[in-house]
């Protein structure tokens, strides 16, 4: 057991999976001797060598396109896209090939790879270093999408993702890369893809969130006198709607929180599922506290855009009072 940050937990999972399985290899921009711009792959180049930890040309379509080929010929590549804002060139390969390969070949070919991508705002970064595009990838059948919000989950989810036979988008909330530490077992363990985590139990209201806002939600819950159940989705797709259903049937009220814009954010999907499954249990309309339908502003205004504690607290008040 060690007290690790999210970055260190990912680093540990990578080391252990690479030691256990020599098909696992990393590729991306600056992942080699530099250890990645966030140091997630720190030390791995020295440890595993340049054949398994590869600095590629600066081309995201190239990184994902070749990773698809690597995966289809027996390896377990873990490509890194340096920031979510640079997924653009990779989008084509991800959605027109990685997501479709299994089904269009009726299972003859598969793409077992994990695409690691730092995601989200709140770190005072330049343009295109703070977006939250998880719903876009959840919308593409054939991809799995996960986003850990704690060091413990980061390790277990990454190991699951690496062992998963299908392509997994593994989004790393960069705002909490080093925000706190947690006990992380040395032994390998897995967190199943598709299982949400009930962070705290309560019976008056349910909050559903994922990624860095889990921290903001915990603060809002601390500040509230209500008994609030907090669900960290951990996996965006396939979503664990059963856990949400069970909670909302108990509380009758739900607030959904995410950094991405409101329209077509993954919150819309969850709200609809709640309506489908819990309609007669609802005491108030489901509320969303999200980014706005604007371009993510530069950092002077980023905290105005993000779902900070104050906005979450107001939503809690209003939904409880409804």
């Amino acid at each position: 057991m060690a007290n690790l940050t999210l970055v260190q937990a990912i680093n540990l999972a990578l080391i252990q999976e690479m030691e256990a399985d020599d098909r696992v290899m990393l590729l991306g921009e600056d992942v080699g001797p530099n250890g990645g711009v966030f140091r997630v792959t720190d030390g791995l180049h020295a440890r595993f060598g340049g054949d398994r930890v590869v600095d590629t040309p600066l081309a995201e379509s190239g990184i994902i396109g070749t990773a698809i080929g690597l995966a289809m010929n027996g390896l377990r590549p873990i490509p890194e896209i340096q920031f979510e804002g640079f997924l653009g060139p990779a989008y084509d390969q991800l959605t027109t090939h990685a997501a479709r390969m299994r089904t269009r070949t009726r299972g003859a070919f598969t793409v077992p790879m994990v695409v690691r991508v730092p995601i989200g705002g709140g770190i005072h970064a330049p343009e295109l270093h703070s977006d939250s595009p998880e719903a876009i990838y959840a919308h593409h059948p054939g991809l799995k999408v996960v986003m850990p919000a704690s060091p413990y989950d980061a390790k277990g989810l990454l190991i699951s993702a690496i062992r998963d036979p299908d392509p997994v988008m593994y989004f790393e909330p960069k705002r909490i890369y080093r925000a706190f530490r947690e006990e992380v077992p040395e032994d390998e363990y897995t967190i199943p893809i598709g299982e949400a985590r009930v962070v705290s139990e309560g019976d008056e209201l349910t909050i559903v969130t994922w990624g860095a806002p889990v921290v903001q939600c915990m603060k809002a819950i601390e500040n509230s006198e209500k008994s609030i159940e907090l669900i960290d989705l951990r996996t965006i797709y396939p979503v664990d709607i059963d856990t949400i259903e069970e909670s909302v049937k108990k509380t009758g009220r739900c607030v959904i929180v995410h950094e991405a814009p409101k329209t077509c954010g993954f919150g819309a999907e969850i709200a609809t599922s709640i309506m489908e499954r819990c309609f007669l249990h609802l005491e108030a309309p489901v509320q969303r506290v999200t980014g706005f339908d604007t371009v993510m502003p530069y950092y002077k205004l980023e905290l105005e855009y993000l779902p900070e504690t104050e906005r979450i607290s107001r939503a809690i008040e209003e939904v409880v009072a409804y």
Binding site: P33, N34, D55, T56, L58, A59, F292, T294, K300, L301
Partner: protein, 376 residues
């Protein structure tokens, strides 16, 4: 003869003022008149000083991530000097010297890195595009900008700047292919500074020159000593003439070096040899230009002192303007989204300080409050 050579070529490397201050009088004749050479050097002093100040602003929390330009001043500056005022400059993010020469106010660049979109609110008359953060994307825009000028039968051309790393992106290759095959008057100006963050340029291009990438698309290409402002001016002028008269693109590889870290978020000691940096310090574009000016009696200690004092004054004034700008209003990020704001977006804006985004109109509080989180 079953196998014959169908194509052969040579790539030229152009140098006029070498790192020892030796000047090729024949090639360099009339490239930069003395008065301008002095002005260009003074401009470099200001830009170099700005780098130092910006670095400190970042370290003291007054600015976000900033990419130093140190060592690369001669490239964009030489190009901007050689071009017409109405030619488009389409930058990446390491072209301060050229953009300021064109007339972009220094505080605009500072504002950009201070996390404020008003740093991109550029006067259209300057023909300067905003910085491009996604690598390798802007060359296509430059091609379109130049295409529009050609369409209107105007003399305007475009010059786009990018790094060695950017030549790995697919968009770069598409831009080069469009420009060459559709006869677009655009200059592809590659600043090969040896590195793309921690990745050496040989990972981006294993051919002997980056310049020959242009050749593959059938365009003229040339390699130039990017730390030699005379050579940069000369090759840019040649490229501009070809673009204006023949509507043909050129690929320029300017060989230079990033003396600083990639940005203030980077630590280059992790991946590159200090000896390499030291060897490039001797090739600094400013050292050789200063030497040239002193030898021609165009520069002396007194002038240097006066120019430094002026550079400091200019930079202090720009920082002051950048820092004294009123905090943005929190509704600002809505207001420029569309020519006309859609109704739902208006509702979101007007209720943004609540949580329910217009579901309950009684919550209208007005949103013209100043940002609460302003970081400086």
């Amino acid at each position: 003869m079953p196998v014959k050579t169908v194509f052969e070529t040579k790539i030229s490397h152009v140098s006029i003022l070498d790192e020892n201050g030796k000047f090729d009088a024949k090639l360099g004749k009339g490239v930069i008149p003395d008065k301008d050479a002095v002005a260009l050097y003074e401009h470099m002093l200001t830009c170099r000083h700005l780098d130092e100040v910006a670095f400190k602003l970042q370290r003291s929390g007054r600015m976000g991530t900033y990419p130093e330009n140190r060592g690369q001043e001669a490239t964009s500056l030489g190009a901007a000097y050689a071009l017409d005022k109405k030619d488009w400059l389409v930058p990446c993010y390491r072209e301060n010297a050229g953009l300021f020469w064109r007339g972009l106010p220094i505080e605009m660049i500072l504002l950009h890195w201070m996390g404020d979109e008003r740093g991109n609110q550029i006067d259209n008359e300057l023909c300067v595009m905003p910085l491009a953060i996604p690598i390798g994307t802007q060359m296509l825009h430059a091609t379109g900008l130049a295409w529009a000028a050609k369409y209107r039968k105007e003399k305007q051309i475009a010059c786009t700047f990018f790094g060695d790393g950017a030549t790995s992106e697919g968009d770069f290759h598409e831009a080069a292919n469009f420009a060459a095959n559709l006869d677009i008057p655009v200059i592809f100006f590659c600043q090969n500074n040896g590195w793309a963050i921690s990745v050496p340029s040989k990972i981006q291009c294993s051919a002997p020159t980056v310049a020959q990438r242009g050749l593959a698309y059938g365009m003229d290409c040339v390699q130039v000593d990017g730390n030699d402002i005379f050579a940069v001016v000369k090759v840019t002028r040649d490229a501009a003439k070809l673009a204006r008269e023949k509507k043909r693109p050129t690929f320029i590889e300017a060989v230079t070096y990033r003396l600083g870290d990639h940005t203030t978020a980077d630590d280059a000691r992790r991946y590159r040899d200090e000896k390499e940096v030291e060897s490039w310090k001797k090739k600094d574009p400013m050292l050789r230009l200063e030497k040239y000016l002193r030898e021609k009696k165009l520069w002396d200690d007194k002038k240097h002192e006066a120019a430094m004092a002026k550079a400091k004054e200019t930079v202090i004034a720009a920082v002051k303007r950048a820092e004294e700008i009123a905090d943005p209003k929190n509704a600002d990020f809505f207001n420029s989204m569309y020519a006309e704001l859609p109704a739902d977006l208006k509702r979101q804006r007007d209720t943004m300080c609540t949580h329910s985004l217009g579901l309950d109109p009684s919550q209208l509080e007005g949103t013209e409050r100043q940002a609460v989180n302003s970081q400086h």
